[in-house]
Amino acid sequence: MRRTLIGIAIGFFALFLVVPLVVVFATAFRDGVVPYLRAIATPDARAALKLTLVAASIAVPLNIAFGIAAAWAIARFKFPGRRMLVTLIDIPFAVSPVVVGMMFVLLFGAHGYLAGVIHTKIVFAVPGIVLATAFVTIPFVARELIPALEARGPDQELAALTLGATPWQTFWRVTLPGLRWPLAYGAILCTARAIGEFGAVSVVSGHVRGETTTVPLHVEILYNDFQYQAAFAVATLLVMIALATVIVQRVIERSR
């Protein structure tokens, strides 16, 4: 029985995870190392990488700041509507990515509700991508911090106050240091998701190669163009980031 179950578990992961990932790398290097390197160094690929990093580097810090604020309000205070607020924070998880992209198109598109108010190009341009990325990554940091703060209780912060610390001093010297690991964990998840987001960005970007494609979108474009080797080559970058994410997660887990 034991062997069967372990076999099933290993078999499942082998067939559905390991083999597909091996296929990604195998196809990427199908024609050798040089074509691989060429595929990931094309101007379009590099532009995609840059855009992905820009979007992530705006979305992630925003959501870290949000996560801290939300966790403080929710974990340290009781107020009417508190539970609804927690559910509200979870909403980005529940909305389909295509719908996410569509919301922003409805707001900022050429005939959108805010088209008359805002005159910079938001959708089919970088700002739209940043917004979509920020939306889908909202919950990650908050969901790590809320239980962490709740588990710790307010006594340390109260102690700091009794010792004469101002609220900001308490925050910087006591609250944040105590949240180091949950914060790092949440930030890693947030970043991985920001880099890998596909559906929402797909709707919002307009797929203009070299300008509004992120790395996942670039993979799609190459794939739909039947440039399989190049598509998988770029995909290996994303796989490696994902693997790095999981490894960092493990490291953080161990240090906690």
Binding site: D155, Q156, T162, L163, G164, R173, P177
Partner: protein, 280 residues
Amino acid sequence: MQIRIDHVSKAYGDFAAIREVSLTIRKGALVALLGPSGSGKTTLLRVIAGLEHPQQGRVILDGADVTETPVQKRGIGFVFQDYALFEHLSVGDNVAFGLAVRRVPIDEQTSRVRELLARVQLADLAGRMPRELSGGQRQRVALARALAPDPRVLLLDEPFGALDARVRAELRGWLRRLHDELHITSVFVTHDQDEALEVADQLVVLDHGRIEQVGAPAEVLAHPASPFVAEFLGGTHLLRGDVRDGVASFGGLSLPVAGTGPARAFVRVVLENPTRQVGS
């Protein structure tokens, strides 16, 4: 500093934790707030500290009304029931915290920390982390930390609650001695009557949010003001005597004991075949 509590009430939703409590604590006293769970003693302590805000009444420290003053400006020292040490800071940094936030120069911080750690007999542990310490050691760090910024009053919430009996006994005597050295007005909360009787100058007995009696331990024992006080503290007699040549003598009672000098004995008489007694 003198503490005056004036008709203070505090409720949590429907539950009235303290009702119209008035109390004066004179400067330099060591006072015990004593009562069963739910009596409001911790709430009262936290109201004095500024960790809770009363719905009604005033808190006056040294003649100044601090009811609306935030906790960080009241100049109090607070020792929490579970110590609330900063887990990410070393023992030394914990103790120095109150000084660091006031931007006291580093060398002054260091010398004060050293002085305080010596006083609480943890001199060599400045570099350790809280998780490496025993319960009794953490307790003393919490105390040193609270004392570092020179508070006007020291408030302790069930300071010995989580410790085992032997450590508790040790720390009790030690707290008394500390108070005698520093003469800082101190208020501590306890549900343990032996602790209160042994350590405090003055007892405040609480029940269901009201003060039942205030007085010196001997006084409260000898003349309980209500049936509740009599029952709660009931049955304990206070004898005074002397220890000489390893023997403590209290009238007709002699007991072997280490040390010399004046002593008190708390004696509780338990009937072998108890019959239910009604009344005080």
